[in-house]
Symmetry: C2
Subunit: 417 residues, 2 copies
């Protein structure tokens, strides 16, 4: 019985993160003295709120002890007030603090889905939903949205076609990562009807709630009538307060049995991060001006990025109405190869290159990692507009140069016959 | 197709934590003004190292950003030096920083085990192994160790009897939570032979490495020859630096494929806690005196707890050689009922009761949650000696009073016939 040590099937199936898989190439380039404009990852360059940083400095504990598995009651109470601003009425008991929004997604899947159960979502999609589905043994069924139609929600008919005995949930990310799409009231109502009709779970990832560029009031899944037991809200302080590193998210639901089940997974992992909770709590109140400033920055950055992309020959991106990402098509056959090439070979240098650097390049997330069908998204990239305006402009200048060089090198040459 | 919203099978199967499930009763008692001696949970009352607390105060970052999915290289390098003190030779690449030891266990199971695969471990066992096994769909097969034999490792023959086609791993916790048992060199060699013979994974949870009361050098699974690809070490800074709340652990292996697979799970959850990593890194070097002081405290506390328990009529516990827990038998039929009763009904009050408190009681972890067989451990509790000596003494005094009262109330009355 001397068999080989095996990796699990799900371990083999787990995708590498399209956002992070090029990191080793980037590290190598950085070690070689190359400056990289990182448009690949939703890591804002904006400082966290001063109030939160001050709270961090003032932590006065002698024992860095476990916190409750559900998270501190004081943080959950602060969140109740936060949601109240969005007309989402909660009690602290409806909120479970998690280690980032990531853990909230995992625990939602683990608690609600059996192996083989299906979740419907729209593609392109945040790639880690797929990873968490594989972790839980669940199956993603996807409705493809297209860049040509601005990634709008396909007709409800397309959803219904996918519903079968195995369907247990619909997952939405609104505003959307990676497309920046924001669902309309009409679309949300359609979703509500279908969730009700088939009595499905509705997992709603709303971590970009703060970043909506339409002026319309935000429509949360929690606002939809009659879905009290169906909705599981995924949230996080990461993006709204530039606190990705503290790993504080939340799973929110009014479904008592789901809450009780999620709590068992929470007890097993003992507690969410202590220091992160203290920082998150300090970030919620008294940061209104901070949030307005951040919003203004993203509004500007969006304009610079979107206008800039659409000006580059062969590139196109629709205007994202929320979040801080956009999907763009590039005039190359395979963006993964192009993104690798930029990190490995294309180091631009001119008089504006930062002193002492060997060159500059750009890092982007290849589009195909955001689709389950490996043939989709091959000429797309996801770009995050999380850098300051001047840096976005410079990154776009370099992208344009890179595309020119790449296509001179690798495009089929026209020969006159 | 208007079916009910279902909870997943694994969600239903997930046990409640025996360590944390009585928390709501404790909270209620505390709100009523009762002082509780918490022997249920491994939450040391010792302060974290001054050096770590100072590092926390001096964190000077403007952006609380994502860290690398594998954890900071500087922390991993510091850990390489730490393990070197224990003659465990590693490179930073062998170390993956996780959100507590908990996440390391989960990712090890997720990466190495398929649904239905079996893990052999000894019971009583840390209850959350069961939770993580259920999360991964794996099956726990257990070899029972007994309080009468001081929880020593059963003959290797008992292990071999459980091995079949489905067996993929052996899991040990050494020194052991909840028993405090420390494996001998001979036992570790036996384990090595069986792991080799059947080519199994050996998951070795060594988070209590610092707490060994025998004077003998520590034997890590990493010391066992010829198991390079088999051993997956689970570790955490939580216990050794009284930093349970910062959620920093590690998964360590030299098996390249396991590392690559675990990294995919790490990428999905993005990154381990940023602030925790900064604190953990500051805790590793220059804290030798702290560790010696902590060790001395536990040595004393162990003596107070073990001697004290064995003095109470009807109670018994063997001497734990490591960690800071012990399993004890109490003279009651069902310790779960007794533990609940202590929190709900038994509030002791005398002239030593803290001022203004309504009374005092004790919280313990009922033993049966540490066994898979629901008939085992019913008259046992797990006790953690993580409180200062005087508090342990007082807790034991109250335990003795509680046992007297409880047995007067609920024991069958002898009648003279």
């Amino acid at each position: 019985m001397n068999k080989d040590l095996q990796i699990s099937t799900r371990g083999n199936e787990m995708p590498e993160s399209p956002i992070r898989k090029l990191t080793p190439l980037a590290e190598k380039a950085e070690n070689d003295g190359v400056f990289i404009y990182k448009l690949n990852i939703g890591q804002p360059d904006l400082p966290s709120p001063q109030k939160a940083l001050k709270a961090l400095k003032n932590i006065d504990r002698e024992i860095l002890e476990y916190s409750p598995s559900q998270g501190y009651a004081s943080l959950r109470k602060a969140l109740v007030n936060y949601y109240d601003r969005y007309q989402i009425k909660l009690s602290p008991d409806d909120i479970i603090i998690t280690c980032g929004g990531s853990e909230a997604v995992l625990f939602a899947f683990m608690s609600c889905l059996n192996p083989g159960d299906e979740i419907i979502l729209t593609e392109p999609a945040y790639a880690n939903y797929m990873s968490f589905a594989i972790s839980a043994g669940a199956v993603i069924r996807s409705v493809v949205t297209t860049i040509e139609e601005g990634f709008s929600l396909p007709k409800i008919n397309d959803f219904e076609k996918l519903i079968n005995e195995k369907t247990k949930a619909i997952l939405i990310c609104n505003p959307n990562n990676p497309t920046g799409y924001l669902y309309t009231q009409k679309e949300m109502n359609q979703l509500r009807d279908i969730v009700k009709k088939y009595n499905l779970y509705l997992f709603s990832d709303e971590v970009y709630r703060e970043f909506i560029y339409t002026g319309s009031p935000y429509i949360s899944a929690m606002h939809l009538e009659g879905l009290q037991d169906n909705v599981i809200l995924i949230d996080s302080v990461s993006k709204r307060y530039s606190e990705c590193g503290i790993r504080i998210g939340a799973l929110i639901t009014k479904n008592r049995r789901v809450k009780e089940t999620v709590m068992k997974f929470c007890q097993a992992r003992l507690s969410p991060p202590l220091i992160g909770q203290l920082i998150a709590e300090a970030s919620i109140e008294g940061t209104e001006q901070y949030s307005r400033d951040v919003y203004e920055s993203y509004l500007e950055r969006r304009k610079v990025l979107i206008d800039g992309i659409n000006k580059i020959p062969g590139c196109y991106t629709p205007i994202p109405m929320g979040a801080f990402y956009t999907m763009a098509t590039l005039p190359v056959e395979d963006t993964e190869k192009f993104c690798e090439w930029c990190l490995k070979k294309f180091y631009w240098k001119d008089e504006f290159t930062p002193q002492g650097m060997k060159g500059e390049t750009i890092m982007m997330a290849p589009g195909k990692g955001f689709y389950t069908n490996p043939e989709k998204g091959k000429n797309e990239v996801r770009l995050a507009y999380v850098l300051e305006k001047q840096k976005i402009k410079r990154a776009l200048f370099i992208l344009e140069r890179a595309l020119e060089s790449y296509n001179q090198l690798y495009s089929p040459v026209c020969t006159i016959s």
